[in-house]
């Protein structure tokens, strides 16, 4: 699993305050904590409150790269902000994200090509999130077709089936899982799949349990990446165990320790 650390997001009070006041301490702290926990990417989101998202993203990228070379996932709906970030990334980044809308794809795909970035493609369009797997897959295919047009290989595309909170969009759960399963059939080589994990449990009780359970189920469907709380030990343990059951890692009694220490 490709683990994308979600914590550097202006929605969190400490990070939001850091971005607002130009205080690097909370950014540095969360960058290092997530890398230590095994994050493969760090997601950077300046948050909705930022007055100048372009400048804030550039600052965030620079600030994080002062303490780590971990690849970055640039999370914004403002593509100028993403481009400002891409220009500064030391390693190929992940663009988070673009929906299946032609105008937005035409803005994002050339810049992905230019900066050798991967892209999260959302299985939604201007009309919103389709209600079933077939609708999501059709949009995923649109994104893939556009990527090929702009000479970006499918394996650089991460399709996000879009999961909704289980307490309000319960009927979307099976559809999202089915989408993950079928996205693999859209092309050869296949695109990757990703979810924004914490969305599944918004405003639910037992959030960590819902996250863990969904993770295991989605991994069984072939999920390859998740934007998640990488500092949640139990969640990481679930990922490690699912990898064992899926025969991705060879079992041994210390497998949890091995997985947690894999980056060290």
């Amino acid at each position: 699993m490709i683990l994308i650390g979600e914590r550097i997001n202006g929605m969190f009070r400490d990070v939001g305050r850091g971005i607002g006041e130009g205080d690097k301490a909370p950014i540095h702290e969360w960058a290092l904590r997530q890398v230590k926990a095994g994050a493969d990417y760090l997601d950077l989101n300046v948050g909705p409150a930022s007055e100048n998202p372009v400048q804030a993203m550039a600052w965030l990228v620079d600030t994080v790269q002062e303490v780590t070379d971990c690849p970055l996932s640039l999370d914004s709906t403002n593509y100028d902000a993403i481009e400002a970030g891409l220009k500064r990334c030391k390693r190929p980044a992940l663009i988070n994200s673009v929906p299946a809308e032609r105008a937005k794809l035409e803005r994002v795909l050339p810049m992905a090509k230019q900066y050798r970035a991967s892209i999260i493609g959302l299985a939604m369009d201007a009309k919103g999130i389709p209600k079933d797997a077939d609708g999501r897959l059709a949009l995923a295919m649109e994104i893939l077709a556009a990527a090929m047009e702009f000479d970006i290989p499918p394996e650089d595309i991460f399709i996000d089936p879009l999961i909704l909170p289980v307490n309000v969009g319960q009927d979307h759960g099976p559809e999202a899982l089915e989408t993950i399963r079928q996205v693999k059939l859209l092309s050869n080589p296949a695109p990757k799949t990703v979810v924004g994990l914490s969305n599944i449990s918004q405003k639910c009780v037992n959030r960590p349990l819902v996250d863990r359970t969904f993770t295991a189920m989605a991994m069984a469907c072939g999920l390859e990446a998740a934007i998640m709380n990488v500092c949640d030990d139990e969640l990481i343990a679930t990922v490690a165990t699912a990898r064992i059951i899926l025969n991705k890692d060879i079992y041994c009694d210390s497998y949890l320790k091995v997985y947690k220490g894999r980056g060290l």
Binding site: C252, D253, S254
Partner: protein, 320 residues
């Protein structure tokens, strides 16, 4: 029609382990031997690197072993003297290393003392310039006395010492740490235990570049396929990022092949099986041939003629 070869690209490779130490490195060996380093499945030269050829260690014991006369007849002038025996293996039969099994330390087979064993090791070191593998008699309490004494006496020589097992690894690991030797981590044809033991040993801070995996081999006709598939998985693990399975592999074949009925029963018993002399050596050579393909790095053999055959086979497999 042109055919495109499909090539796998692996992210990691088998780790390298260096055995022995020259004078400049604090030992007395005339050369060191490096095993491992493969970045592909065995001998797929078109796909990756096989930088170090598999090597052959010939087995020597500190007692007169009860081996088949087919083997012992080649050593009858030296079999009571481990140093002379080792020298003959290197000079006459081209052994890359010597595998000294201290069987004579077994309380029921002579009960040689730790000091005697250490002395034997030093004599063998004096008689040959190749790196040495030294293993105990298999009686754990005794080995836990003998092997630390050997480790200390041969400090600096960078021996490969064995064997560590899941329930008896601490004494030997500590001895290897203190006196800077490599260790054989043996598991009973069980990949989970192989991995776990490597973790346990490295948690004692012995670097993984000083661990060699002994997966326990079964001879041809006696479970060879179990070991084969375990070794295959170990190699694939090493190539796909599993650090705790990334060590080179030693196959103690001589002992296992010699136990096979086919390596011992005379033609009078089984007229259809052909001459015993030929059969006994082929059992060792054929078992080795299979484990070359499975990803073995160090082959422990007894029979001079099978050494020649396996060497020839390695030579052919190493041609790019």
């Amino acid at each position: 029609m042109p055919v495109d070869l499909i090539k796998e690209r692996y992210t990691t490779k088998v780790g390298e382990v260096v055995l022995g130490a020259t004078k400049a490195e604090g030992g007395t060996r005339s050369q060191t031997i490096t095993v491992g380093g493969d970045s592909t499945l065995p001998f797929l030269h078109f796909e990756g690197e096989v930088p170090n050829r598999p090597v052959i260690a010939m087995e020597v014991q500190n007692m007169v072993p009860e081996w088949s006369p087919e083997v012992t007849k080649n050593f009858k002038d030296v079999i009571g003297d481990p140093a002379a025996w080792a020298a003959k293996c290197v000079k006459e039969y081209g052994a890359d290393l010597i595998y000294l099994k201290l069987n004579g330390a077994d309380p029921e087979r002579g009960n040689a003392s730790p000091e005697d064993c250490a002395e034997t090791v030093k004599k063998v070191l004096g008689a040959v310039g190749v790196p040495l593998i030294v293993v105990g008699c298999g009686v754990e309490e005794k080995d836990n006395e003998v092997l630390p004494a050997v480790a200390e006496a041969a400090a600096g020589e960078n021996l490969l010492l064995g064997v560590a097992k899941q329930d008896n690894y601490k004494t030997l690991t500590a001895a290897c740490m203190v006196h800077k030797h490599c260790i054989i981590a043996q598991s009973p044809i069980d990949i989970n235990i192989a991995k776990q033991l490597n973790i346990l040993i490295s948690e004692m801070n012995l670097p993984i570049s000083r661990i060699v995996i002994d997966p326990s081999v079964g001879a041809l006709g006696y479970g060879i396929e179990y070991t084969y598939s375990i070794m295959e998985r170990i190699r694939i693990g090493a190539l796909t990022g599993d650090k705790m399975l990334s060590m080179p592999v030693i196959c103690a074949i001589g002992y296992e092949a010699a136990r096979a009925k086919e390596a011992n029963a005379g033609i009078d018993q089984f007229p259809g099986w052909g001459e015993l002399a030929e059969r006994a050596l082929l059992w060792e050579a054929m078992t080795s041939a299979a484990f070359l393909q499975a990803g073995g790095h160090i082959f422990v053999l007894r029979h001079p003629r099978s050494v020649a055959l396996v060497k020839q086979s390695i030579g052919q497999l190493m041609i790019k």
